[in-house]
C-alpha cells in the first residue's frame, strides 16, 4: 500500500462515523415526518366544526327576527359557533385601505370589519335582483333630487379595540368617511362623488347629503363599496393599509399577505346575536383548481363565478348546493378612437358584423351566456331584450356578407392591416378569444397581428390608449347605468378613448334623471343609439355561471359581482345536522 493510499484510509477512518450519523439522522427525520403526516388529523378550515348550540349571545328567535329585517332569510334555526373560511374569486390584495383600490378583494374583506349606510343583497330565488337593507341608516328619503336624508341607527359603536376602544359611532364619522372617499387625493373612489356638494348634520341621528345635481350612481355607490365608515383615529394614526377597525360584525385579527385574513366575532355588534360564527377566515387562493379542491374537501364555504363544466363536475357531491346566475363578462373589443380608419362608421359596423357573440360565449363560458348590449343583463330591466339585440337594427349579429359590403362601400374591399393587443395575464380563454377575433376579422380582410402583453403593461397601454388598431380588454362593471360611463370621455374604462361632448351630455342626462322608470327608458334609448352607431366598442356577452356552496352554510348569500361585499358572512351559520 502506498503512502498516499495509507493517508486515504486513515482520513477515511476519521470521517466515516460523522457522515454515517448525518445520513442516518436525515433518513430517520424524513421517515418520522412521513408517519406524522399519515397519522395526523385532517385539518379543515372551512367551518368543519359543527356549530355548538347556543350559549353565545342572542337567542335563536331573536336572531331569526333580526335576519328577517336586516338580511335575507332562509329556512332553519340559526346556530351559533364555529369557524368559516371563505376564498373569494378576486385579484390579489395589495393593502387593506378601501379608498386605495377599486378592485373587488379589498372591499370584500372590508365588508366584514366596516359598516356603511346600506347593505346590498340579492333575492334568494333570483340572484339578479338586488335588494337594499338598512345598515347604519335605518331609513332614507329624498326631499328633492338633490337632497337626500338618512336617518341613522342609534347606539352603534366602533369595535372595542384600539384606537377606537368601543367609542360611539356618530354622524360625524360617516361624514368624515364619505368625504375621505370623495376628496382624498389618492382615493380611487373620488369619481363616485363628483356631484356631492355638502354633507349636513341637522341632528346626531340625521345625515343630509346635498348634491350639485341628481346622480343616480351616487346612491348606488353609498350602498356599494364607496363609503365604508372608518374612524379618523385609525386614518391619522397607524393608517388603513395594514389595519381595519370599524363597526362591522367581525374584528380584524391578522393579515398574512397572499395567504389569509383572520377575523373574530364582534361581541358588541349593534345587531344582537349577529354574527353567528365565532371566527372568519378569508383565504387567498390564487388557483381555481385549488379553490375547487378546497370546496370539495370542505375547507371553504363557497365559490362563485364557476363555469358550467365545474358545476357539472361537482354537482354529484352531496354536500354542495348550487345556484345559477348572470355574471357580467366585461371583455370587449375596443377600437382606437384616434385612428382615422375607425372614424368611418361603416368600418366599425363591418367589424361588429364580422364577429359572432355566440362564438365568444362558447369559448369563454362553454356556450352558456346572453348577448349584451351596453348595459349588462345582470340587473333586471336595464338591458335590451335578447330578441332586440339580435335584430337587424343593430350590428351585434354576425353577417359576413353585409360586413364585406360595408367595407367595400367604405373603400376597404381589400381590407387593411392592424394589430390586436390582449392581456396574457388573464386566463387562457382571453387568448383563445383573441385568436377567434383574429380569424373573424380575417374573413373581411382585416389582417390583425396579435400582440400579447402582461397585465401591468397592458393596463398602461389601455389607459393611455397607446395601441394600434384594437385592444381586447375589460370595460367597467357596476350598477346598471354605470356601464354608460365607459362611453364617457373621462370614463374609468374608456378603452377606445372616445371623446364626444354630445355623448357625454347624453350620458349625464341619464344619470341625472331622478325617476328610475324614466331613467331606465333613457338608458335603453341611449343604448340603442350607441349600438346603431357602433361607437368604437363591441360588447359581446354576459355569462351564465354558478355559485356553489356547502350545504352546511345556512343563509349564505354570495356577493353580487358588481357589489364588492361579503356582508352575507355575518348572517351565515353552520349547521351540519
Amino acid at each position: 500500500m502506498t503512502e498516499g493510499t495509507s493517508v486515504y484510509w486513515e482520513t477515511f477512518a476519521r470521517r466515516t462515523l460523522s457522515r454515517r450519523r448525518a445520513l442516518t439522522g436525515a433518513a430517520l427525520a424524513t421517515a418520522g415526518a412521513a408517519v406524522a403526516v399519515a397519522c395526523g388529523p385532517r385539518s379543515k378550515g372551512g367551518g368543519g366544526q359543527t356549530a355548538r348550540s347556543s350559549g353565545a349571545a342572542g337567542s335563536d328567535a331573536a336572531a331569526a327576527a333580526i335576519i328577517g329585517k336586516e338580511w335575507n332569510t332562509s329556512p332553519g334555526t340559526p346556530k351559533y359557533g364555529g369557524s368559516i373560511s371563505h376564498a373569494p374569486t378576486a385579484p390579489p390584495l395589495a393593502n387593506l385601505d378601501p379608498i386605495l383600490s377599486a378592485s373587488a378583494m379589498v372591499h370584500q374583506v372590508a365588508s366584514n370589519a366596516y359598516s356603511k349606510l346600506m347593505r346590498v343583497s340579492r333575492k334568494n330565488d333570483d340572484l339578479n335582483t338586488q335588494v337594499l337593507y338598512p345598515d347604519l341608516a335605518t331609513s332614507w328619503e329624498t326631499a328633492s333630487p338633490t337632497t337626500w336624508t338618512f336617518h341613522l341607527r342609534p347606539g352603534v359603536k366602533f369595535q372595542n379595540v384600539p384606537p377606537t376602544n368601543g367609542r360611539p359611532l356618530t354622524a360625524e364619522d360617516i361624514k368624515y368617511s364619505i368625504l375621505r372617499s370623495g376628496t382624498d387625493k389618492t382615493s380611487q373612489l373620488r369619481g363616485g362623488f363628483v356631484n356631492l356638494d355638502t354633507i349636513e348634520i341637522p341632528d346626531p341621528q340625521t345625515l343630509t347629503l346635498k348634491l350639485k345635481r341628481f346622480d343616480s350612481l351616487l346612491f348606488n355607490n353609498l350602498a356599494g363599496h364607496y363609503a365604508w365608515v372608518v374612524p379618523h383615529e385609525l386614518v391619522e394614526g397607524p393608517g388603513l393599509k395594514n389595519n381595519m377597525v370599524g363597526s362591522g360584525p367581525f374584528i380584524f385579527q391578522n393579515w398574512e399577505q397572499d395567504s389569509q385574513l383572520t377575523f373574530k366575532k364582534n361581541p358588541d355588534y349593534y345587531l344582537k346575536g349577529i354574527p353567528f360564527v365565532d371566527e372568519l377566515k378569508i383565504l387567498q387562493i390564487g388557483s381555481q383548481d385549488d379553490r375547487i379542491a378546497a370546496l370539495r374537501s370542505d375547507r371553504v364555504l363557497s365559490q362563485d363565478q364557476m363555469f358550467p363544466s365545474v358545476y357539472n363536475s361537482v354537482k354529484g357531491d352531496s354536500h354542495l348546493q348550487s345556484q345559477k346566475y348572470i355574471v357580467v363578462s366585461p371583455r370587449v373589443l375596443f377600437m382606437n378612437y384616434k385612428e382615422p380608419l375607425f372614424q368611418d362608421d361603416r368600418v366599425r359596423k363591418a367589424i361588429s358584423l364580422a364577429i359572432d357573440p355566440n362564438a365568444i360565449i362558447k369559448i369563454e363560458n362553454e356556450g352558456e351566456g346572453l348577448w349584451r348590449g351596453v348595459i349588462s343583463n345582470q340587473i333586471a330591466g336595464w338591458s335590451l331584450s335578447q330578441d332586440e339585440l339580435k335584430s337587424k337594427d343593430y350590428f351585434l349579429r354576425q353577417d359576413v356578407t353585409e360586413a364585406k359590403q360595408l367595407m367595400a362601400a367604405a373603400g376597404h374591399a381589400d381590407g387593411f392591416q392592424s394589430e390586436l393587443l390582449y392581456n396574457t395575464s388573464y386566463p387562457d380563454f382571453y387568448k383563445n378569444n383573441a385568436q377567434y377575433l383574429q380569424q373573424a376579422l380575417a374573413a373581411i380582410n382585416i389582417k390583425v397581428n396579435l400582440v400579447g402583453q402582461e397585465q401591468t403593461a397592458f393596463r398602461k397601454n389601455q389607459d393611455d390608449h397607446n395601441y394600434k388598431g384594437f385592444i381586447y380588454g375589460l370595460d367597467g362593471e357596476g350598477f346598471s347605468e354605470a356601464y354608460l360611463l365607459d362611453y364617457r370621455s373621462d370614463g374609468p374604462k374608456n378603452g377606445s378613448g372616445i371623446s364626444m361632448k354630445s355623448l357625454d351630455d347624453q350620458i349625464d342626462q341619464v344619470l341625472t334623471t331622478p325617476d328610475e322608470t324614466e331613467r331606465k327608458a333613457k338608458a335603453k334609448d341611449l343604448t340603442r343609439q350607441i349600438l346603431k352607431q357602433v361607437l368604437w366598442k363591441v360588447e359581446f356577452d354576459d355569462d351564465l355561471q354558478y355559485v356553489i356552496s356547502q350545504s352546511w352554510g345556512k343563509n349564505w348569500m354570495a356577493p353580487s359581482p358588481q357589489v364588492y361585499n361579503t356582508t352575507g358572512l355575518a348572517f351565515t351559520w353552520i349547521d351540519k345536522s
Partner: protein, 318 residues
C-alpha cells in the same frame, strides 16, 4: 482558509451591487407601474390623471431613474431596503415571513431528492446494463420531464375529486402546527423533489459508474469488503463531488424558481412574492427579494466550494 473566505465574501459586494442595479433599471424600463394597477377599476370621471399623479409622487416614482437610484442607494447604505409599494410594510418583514417557507420547501425537496437519488442512482450504477438500470433510467427521465404544475395539480385535484381530501391551503409554520405544516409541505416537496430526483439520479449513476472503475475500488473489492461498504464508504463519497455541484445549482433554482409549485399548493413563499412584485411593479419588494436571493446563492456556492475540500482533501480551497 480564512483568507479565502474573506476574499470570497468581499467579492459578494460588487456582485450584489451589479445585480441590484440591473434589476433596478430593468423593472423601471418595463412599461407600466403600480399606479396603473391601482387605478384599475377606479371611478374616473375626471379624477384619474390627478389621482395617478398624486400616487406616483407619494411613491417617489415620478422622479427620473437616476434620481430614484441615488435615493435608493443612500437608503441601502443605511441598511434600509425600503417599504413595499403595495402595503407600505418594510420589505424585510415580508421576506422574513416568506423566506423560511421557501427554505423549508427547498430543504424538504432536497432531502427527498437526494435521499432517493442516492439510493436509486447507486442501484442503477451497481446493476449497470441490466433491466433495473434501464428501468431506473426511464423513470428518472420521466421524473425530470413531467412539469411540476401537472404533478402538483393532480396531487391537489384527484384526492379532492375522489376522496374529498385536499392539502390545506393556508400555511402554518412547523412550530405553530407541525401536522398542518407537513400536510401542506410534503406534497409540494414531493412534487419538486421528484423533478430534482430525476436530475440527481442520472448524475449519481454516471458519477458512481466512473468511480467504481477506479483502482481503489478494485482494492476494496480485493480486500473482501462487502458491497454496501464499498459503495457507501468509498464509492459514493467520491462520486458525490459532481453531484454536490448540481445540488448547489439546483438550490439556487429552488429558492427563486419554485413559483409554480408554490402557486399550485398556495404556499406564500419567496417565489410567489417575487412574481407578484414583478407583476405589480412593487419595485422595493422586488429589489430586496433579488438581493436576498442573490446573497443566498452566493453563500450556497461558497459552501459548495468548501464542501469539495471536505469531500476530497486533495481539493484545497484558499
Amino acid at each position: 482558509m480564512r483568507a479565502y473566505l474573506i476574499r470570497r465574501m468581499l467579492l459578494f459586494v460588487p456582485v450584489l451591487v451589479l445585480v441590484y442595479t440591473f434589476v433596478f433599471v430593468l423593472i423601471r424600463i418595463v412599461p407600466g407601474d403600480i399606479v396603473n394597477l391601482m387605478m384599475e377599476g377606479g371611478s374616473g370621471r375626471g379624477t384619474s390623471a390627478a389621482t395617478a399623479a398624486e400616487l406616483r409622487h407619494e411613491l417617489g416614482i415620478d422622479k427620473s431613474i437616476q434620481q430614484q437610484y441615488a435615493i435608493q442607494l443612500q437608503h441601502l447604505l443605511r441598511g434600509d431596503l425600503g417599504r413595499s409599494f403595495r402595503n407600505g410594510r418594510p420589505v424585510t418583514a415580508e421576506i422574513g415571513r416568506r423566506l423560511p417557507i421557501t427554505l423549508e420547501l427547498a430543504a424538504l425537496a432536497i432531502v427527498i431528492a437526494l435521499g432517493s437519488a442516492l439510493v436509486i442512482g447507486s442501484l442503477a450504477a451497481l446493476r449497470h446494463d441490466t433491466g433495473i438500470d434501464r428501468t431506473i433510467s426511464v423513470l428518472s427521465i420521466v421524473a425530470l420531464s413531467v412539469p411540476a404544475f401537472w404533478t402538483g395539480t393532480l396531487i391537489v385535484v384527484l384526492p379532492a375529486r375522489f376522496w374529498g381530501y385536499s392539502p390545506p391551503f393556508t400555511f402554518s409554520s412547523l412550530i405553530e402546527d407541525p401536522t398542518q405544516n407537513l400536510q401542506q409541505m410534503l406534497p409540494a416537496a414531493l412534487t419538486l423533489g421528484a423533478i430534482f430526483a430525476g436530475v440527481l439520479t442520472r448524475y449519481v449513476r454516471s458519477s458512481l459508474l466512473e468511480v467504481l472503475r477506479q483502482d481503489y475500488i478494485r482494492t476494496a473489492w480485493a480486500k473482501g469488503l462487502r458491497e454496501r461498504i464499498v459503495l457507501t464508504h468509498h464509492g459514493l463519497r467520491n462520486a458525490f463531488i459532481p453531484v454536490i455541484t448540481v445540488v448547489g445549482l439546483q438550490v439556487s433554482g429552488l429558492l427563486g424558481g419554485a413559483v409554480i409549485t408554490e402557486r399550485v399548493f398556495n404556499l406564500p413563499g419567496m417565489g410567489t412574492l417575487t412574481i407578484t412584485a414583478i407583476n405589480q411593479r412593487d419595485y422595493p419588494q422586488l429589489e430586496a427579494n433579488v438581493l436576498v436571493l442573490a446573497f443566498i446563492v452566493l453563500v450556497v456556492n461558497l459552501f459548495v466550494d468548501i464542501a469539495y475540500g471536505w469531500l476530497d482533501p486533495r481539493i484545497r480551497v484558499g
